[in-house]
């Protein structure tokens, strides 16, 4: 587990993406309150405490799901995932038909790096845990 506090002047988003570049889904932790923090910030919400970075085990459960079918494009899903460490994030579930995603489905994370265009930032997606 990587553990370091955020340095003054550093961008939480840039650090989050640094972890993604290494294949890791990072989140923050307020050690004083014992609460996980997501999305990444320069201070902990509610307390103003310093935040530590931690790396998630990547396992979670689909909390809510919707499927969007744009005209002339394949459908895709948008989900909220509750990670086992106690934070929630928006993402999508891949490797299953868009409309096969179910609330309660166990999923694990994978880093997606867009192939379209230089500088496109990586982001986290999910696949069924068993896949």
């Amino acid at each position: 587990m990587s553990l370091n506090t955020i340095a003054a002047g550093a961008s939480p988003l840039a650090l989050f993406r640094d972890y993604l570049q290494r294949g890791e889904l990072a989140y923050q932790f307020d050690a004083a309150s014992g609460q996980p923090v997501f999305f990444p910030r320069v201070i902990a919400p509610g307390t103003g405490n310093a935040v530590e970075w931690r790396v998630s085990g990547g396992k979670g459960t689909v909390h809510a799901a919707t499927v969007i079918s744009p005209r002339g494009e394949p459908p895709y899903n948008v989900v909220l995932v509750d990670m086992d460490e106690g934070f929630r994030l928006m993402s999508r579930v891949e490797e299953v038909p868009a409309d096969a995603v179910r609330i309660g489905m166990r999923v694990r994370s994978r880093v997606h790096t867009p192939g379209d265009g230089a500088g496109a930032a990586p982001y986290v997606v999910f696949v069924p845990e068993a896949a």
Partner: protein, 386 residues
């Protein structure tokens, strides 16, 4: 017990009006529509622009709406407020106007809003903030956020798409009684279910309209309101709640801040849900009506779907809800809260024509902003409630 200095019945809404609605003449700007609505609302109250000393305005189409509107109207208000928390900004502005009036900062407050989102295209007038933790997944703004909440409500409480559709059907039945409404044709549950899917489980008929339009409201002291042209709609209670901004950060997708804003408004008003004669809530999507019926205490949590299933909120039902036809069928120029307030006032005055609720002395007007984010509630009453 109310923990602030706002006094029940100290202020009233004395004038209300819409601007042109629907698809307005080409080239009309939001400022034109706000000016038109302002003049109509002032005339409704029997006041003129010279009386306005407090200016409250917002629109997604101006960076500095109060400045732009003061210039347009040629007024120099003593007090101003450009609060933008989405569609419930106007309920909050009623609360803020009352605070300003009670503090002597102004006496006649004009609250105004307008949008030309139908003419210009919604993406051109209200582009969402870029959120690096959500934007990569391409959720539709705002439909997918409400769809996620609906998916959770269905999962936890067994709410069905048919029950959601009943909300749209009831809104349409009310709209057919409102000559101002955009929608003119009947709607069935089957129509809703068979419409184009936008973001599951919500079809286009589960989603609010995209129209142009504006509205204006005049708030003044109760003493002043009594001297004006129309019967005052007294402000009995107000409540506000600011929650998350992005849907990923909503603590519980099935419970909104309306629980808190409603409780504050009921406490100030000294009323409970059973005392309310007519309910107006911002129906951005069918799921929002269900959530607010639950969170404002008209049915237990999770029972919203079953509550609306048999026409309970349609004309002739046990609880009149969104008698204008709402954002689903009357008009929806973006931040709909101002129209929620306008309809509540018209019901209290007995001006609602064929859709008038008999014996209407109390009304709740509830607004929603963002992605079930901000919630603001105003409870209004006639002279009989003072």
């Amino acid at each position: 017990m109310t923990q602030h200095g706002l006094k029940r019945g100290a202020c009233a809404i004395a004038g209300v009006a819409e601007s042109d609605l629907g698809e307005v003449a080409a080239g009309l700007s939001p400022l034109d529509l706000m000016g038109q609505a302002a003049q109509r609302a002032l005339a409704d109250a029997g006041l003129s622009l010279r009386d306005v000393d407090g200016l409250f305005a917002t629109t997604s189409q101006s960076r500095m709406p109060t400045l732009a509107l003061a210039e347009y109207l040629g007024i120099r208000p003593r007090y101003h407020d450009g609060t933008n928390i989405g569609g419930c900004s106007f309920m909050s502005m009623v609360a803020h106007a009352q605070a300003a009036i009670q503090a002597g900062l102004c006496e006649v407050a004009l609250i105004a809003y307008a949008s030309t989102q139908r003419s210009l295209g919604r993406a051109n007038v209200a582009a969402p903030d870029v959120n690096p933790y959500e934007s990569p997944y391409r959720p539709l703004y705002t439909a997918s956020s409400y769809a996620l909440a609906a998916s959770r409500h269905m999962h936890e409480y067994g709410t069905t798409r048919e029950q959601l559709a009943q909300v749209a059907v009831a809104a349409r039945e009310w709209a057919l009684l409102n000559p101002q409404a955009w929608e003119k044709e009947p709607l069935t549950v089957a129509d809703v279910l068979g419409s184009r899917m936008v973001s599951t489980p919500l079809t286009v008929r589960d989603c609010c309209l995209v129209t142009d339009g504006g509205g204006a409201i005049i708030v003044t002291s109760a003493e002043r309101a009594k001297t004006l042209r129309k019967r005052p709609a007294y402000v009995l209670g107000v409540g506000e709640d600011l929650g998350h901004y992005s849907i990923s950060n909503m603590p519980d997708l099935t419970v909104t801040g309306a629980v808190r804003s409603g409780a504050a408004a009921y406490a100030m008003a000294g009323l409970k849900p059973a005392d309310i004669d007519v309910v107006q809530v911002y129906d951005a999507f069918t799921i929002t009506t269900l959530l607010f019926l639950e969170d404002l205490g008209f049915c237990p949590k999770g029972e919203g779907g079953r509550f609306v299933a048999d026409g309970a909120i349609a004309p002739g039902g046990q609880l009149p809800v969104n008698t204008s036809g709402g954002g689903l069928s009357y008009c929806h120029p973006g931040m709909f809260g101002i129209f929620v307030l306008i309809e509540a006032v018209r019901q209290l005055r007995g001006e609602a024509g064929r859709r008038q609720v008999a014996g209407c002395d109390t009304a709740i007007a509830h607004g929603n902003g963002g992605t079930l984010s901000s919630q603001s509630t105003v409870i209004l009453g006639t002279q009989a409630t003072l």
